[in-house]
Every structure is written in structure tokens, then in C-alpha cells.
């Protein structure tokens, strides 16, 4: 029956952790390499400290920042009775506190969740979404967003961003230092090691970004299956995805922004309906292809 859902969920969690581990290994290698090259381990720690500080700040303020960028208004119970009560009920089912609910005036259907923890959860939907979806489809979308909150995806995303930032910074620092002659070069690092180092430093931010996006896509799948587990009705979410990709294919959200793209229910750039099968596109997408999400949901129908 629902066994597939549970399996899918735990599989996704394992994959996410595997990716995170790869990340940590990458950071540690880079750090070791840098401190080995310069003969000074403190570089590594300073980089970590700066990156952490920067990101703790953005993590703490992410909710209000994103809401401001997207121009969201709080949804009142009187005005959006159905949306409000439906969210209330789904939070009860999911065992989460009721998130703050926002509505964005925007004809392209979409939604996002943010907030640093489940006590400060925020869910925002566009007016376009409310217009085109039936009740059980809307339930699917809201459950998906609540799943993001329940799965601590915002925290995870922040950790990942910290790590990406760290890798990028280290790479940058190392390259500059190498070219402009910082560091004591006679220290163990020979010619071939230097070349490997430079290649590694150039590639690592790219690799880090790819891993970040892989995690982002994994979390979308996870939120889909957790959401389906909350509503017990994967078809609602599947048909919502179908409608959204059909409606907004090629349409970009007015306030689409690369910095917030990963938070949305569907990619805000309207590229999810396209049959973009090119490897590069897939590698750098924040969301998995919509057809694949629908197929997974339909494959695990609770019956």
C-alpha cells in the first residue's frame, strides 16, 4: 500500500546524506590542500568562520528577505478562508505548527516555503495558483511546502550554501595567492602539485554548485513524497504539477530571481514544461523535470 511512499522517503534521505558527505569530504580536502600548500592551517579556519557568519545571518533573516523580494502579503482567514483552513488542517495532519501564510499577486501559479525552523515556518502562494487549482490539488501543493518545513530543508539548504561559499572562497583565495605570489612556495609544493591544485581550485566551485543543485532536486522529490504521505493522495499533487507546468510553460514569474529559485514549488523561470533534455540544463536545474516528478508520484499511488 503506502510502503512505496515510505521507501521513497527514506531512500531520498539516504541520498541526501550521501551527497552531503561528498561535500564535506571535498571541503576537507580543499582545506587540507590549502593549509598544506601554505604551511598554515589557520587559513582554513578563518574561511570557515567568515562563511559561517555570513550565512547564519542570511539563514536567520531569509524568511523576511524572501517575502520582501517576492512582494508577499499576509493571507487573512476572512479573505482566504479555504486556503487558510486547508493549510491549518494539513499542518495538523503533519504535526507542524500552523505556518504564517502569505499570498503573492502574480498570475503565474507557484508557491514556496521558508522560515528558519518549523516554529517560524512561512508558506506563500501566488494568486495564479489559487485560481487554477482545485481544492485537492491545492492541498497537494501546500502539503509539499509543509514537507519542506518539516524536513528541515531550509536549514539543509543553508548548510549547503555555507559549504558552497566556503569552497568558492577557498578556491578564489588560493588562486589569487598563487598568482600574486603569497605563501611560502618552497614549502613542499612542487610544480605538478601546483597544477593539480590550480585545476582543483578552479573546478571545485563548479562541482560544489552542481552538488548543491543535486541536493536541491533530491529535496524536491523528498518533499513530493512526504507531501503525498500527508494528504494520502499523490494524484492531487501530480495533477497540480501537470496544470502548473501546462499553464506557465515559458512564462517567467515577474519577480523570478536566481537567489530564490530553489525555494519555489516549481521553477519560477517557466522552464519546467520544456523538454529540456540537454545534460547541462539538467545539471544546473534547481528542480527535477516535472514529468519525472509526476511519474514518481503516479508510480507510488496509495491504493
Amino acid at each position: 500500500m503506502a510502503a512505496n511512499l515510505y521507501k521513497n522517503q527514506s531512500e531520498n534521505i539516504i541520498k541526501t546524506w550521501a551527497l552531503m558527505s561528498v561535500f564535506f569530504v571535498l571541503v576537507i580536502f580543499l582545506g587540507l590542500f590549502a593549509s598544506h600548500y601554505f604551511g598554515n592551517p589557520s587559513i582554513f579556519y578563518i574561511a570557515i568562520a567568515i562563511s559561517l557568519l555570513m550565512n547564519v545571518f542570511s539563514y536567520w533573516n531569509s524568511a523576511s528577505l524572501v517575502l520582501k523580494i517576492s512582494g508577499a502579503k499576509p493571507a487573512l482567514k476572512e479573505e482566504y478562508y479555504d486556503l487558510y483552513t486547508l493549510t491549518e488542517n494539513l499542518s495538523i495532519t503533519a504535526g507542524l505548527p500552523m505556518p504564517k501564510l502569505y499570498v503573492i499577486k502574480e498570475s503565474v501559479p507557484n508557491a514556496f516555503a521558508t522560515g528558519r525552523n518549523k516554529e517560524h515556518g512561512v508558506v506563500a502562494v501566488t494568486t495564479g495558483l489559487l485560481e487554477i487549482l482545485e481544492k485537492n490539488e491545492l492541498e497537494g501543493v501546500i502539503a509539499h511546502e509543509l514537507a519542506h518545513i518539516g524536513n528541515r530543508d531550509i536549514l539543509l539548504q543553508t548548510v549547503v550554501v555555507v559549504l558552497v561559499g566556503l569552497v568558492t572562497m577557498l578556491g578564489d583565495f588560493f588562486l589569487r595567492a598563487t598568482f600574486f605570489g603569497g605563501g611560502n612556495r618552497d614549502n613542499k609544493a612542487g610544480g605538478y602539485l601546483l597544477i593539480i591544485g590550480i585545476i582543483l581550485m578552479i573546478l571545485s566551485p563548479i562541482i560544489a554548485t552542481i552538488i548543491q543543485l543535486m541536493i536541491s532536486r533530491k529535496r524536491e522529490f523528498l518533499a513530493d513524497s512526504t507531501g503525498a504521505l500527508i494528504t494520502r493522495y499523490p494524484e492531487g499533487l501530480a495533477s497540480a504539477l501537470e496544470k502548473i507546468s501546462g499553464f506557465s510553460s515559458g512564462k517567467k514569474m515577474e519577480k523570478a530571481n536566481h537567489a530564490t529559485a530553489h525555494m519555489f514549488f516549481a521553477s519560477p523561470f517557466g522552464d519546467h514544461g520544456k523538454k529540456h533534455k540537454s545534460f547541462m540544463n539538467k545539471l544546473f536545474a534547481t528542480h527535477p523535470p516535472t514529468e519525472q516528478r509526476i511519474a514518481k508520484l503516479r508510480g507510488q499511488r496509495v491504493e
Binding site: N89, I92, T93, G95, E134, N136, R232, E303
Partner: protein, 186 residues
Amino acid sequence: MILLYILLGFVVVAGAWVAASYNGFIRLRTRAEEAWSDIDVQLKRRYDLIPNLIDTVKGYMNHERETLESVTKARTAAMGAGTVADQAASENMLTDALKSLFAVSESYPDLKANENFLELQRELTDTENKIQASRRFYNTNVRDLNIKIESFPSNIIAGIFNFVKREFFELAEDEQAAKDPVKVSF
């Protein structure tokens, strides 16, 4: 000496496992209890709304004594229910009684125009949905608890400390039927 250390290590590990397992049970049991009290909150809200509804409806529905009485009776029965199964059964009766009351109300246009009645109807529908939502959350927690009580090796701990399985709060009608949208054609 080495043997003693090995033995000591074994005892420590076993003790830690027993403690962790026991705490896990306590956590699951508390969650299930909390989820049950969440259902209770919603049920109480429904009990509180019903007398208002009866008062509002009474003036309009002189010929529907039986329907009104069955609602009142179902409410009293539900409030006095003991076990989880009892509670579930009596709540289902109450839901059905309310359903037939609202069905009957369709033939009273004056009543359907009453603000108070419409508000109560909306509130009751919402409470109904919330009961279903909290019921499912409760069942999820009970499922987790019951799985741990039955699976090996945690069942040993459950046996020693006497953790018992809890009953599910069952819904009478088919869940899927309740989920599928009703097609209305004119």
C-alpha cells in the same frame, strides 16, 4: 583482566541501548497521547457548536423533531464514550446525524438565508475537517508506536517495561471516497 574489560564494555553498551530504546518508547507514547488530546480539542469544539446549531435551527424546523433529537442523542453518546473504538463509532454516528440535518435544511430556504446558520455550518464543516486531520496525525503516531512495540529487538524492552499498543481511530467511510472530488452537474 581483558575479559573483564570486554564484559564491562558489553554491559555499558547494553545499558545504553536499553536506555535509548526506553526513551524512544516514552517519546512515541507521549506523542500519541498528545495527538489524542489534539483530537479531543476538536471534538470538544464540535460538542460546543451543536447546541448553538440546534437553537438556531429549532425555530425553522418544526417538523424535523426526530432529526434534531438524533443529533442531540449522538452528541450525548459521543461525549460519554470511553475507549478509542467507542469514541470513533459514536463520532461517526454524530457526523452522520449532522449530515442528515444539513441535508434536511436544504428544503428550508429561510434557514438557508440565516447568517447565523451559515456561519455555524461553515464552522462545523471546518471542525469536521480538523477532526479528520488530527485523527490522521494520531494514527500516524500510533502506527509508529505499534511498529516499535512489535518489531525486534525493541519488543523485548516493550515487554519488560510493559508498553502496550494503542488503538487506531478509525473512520467509518472509505477514506478514498472522501478524498475524491464530488462531480456536480447541473
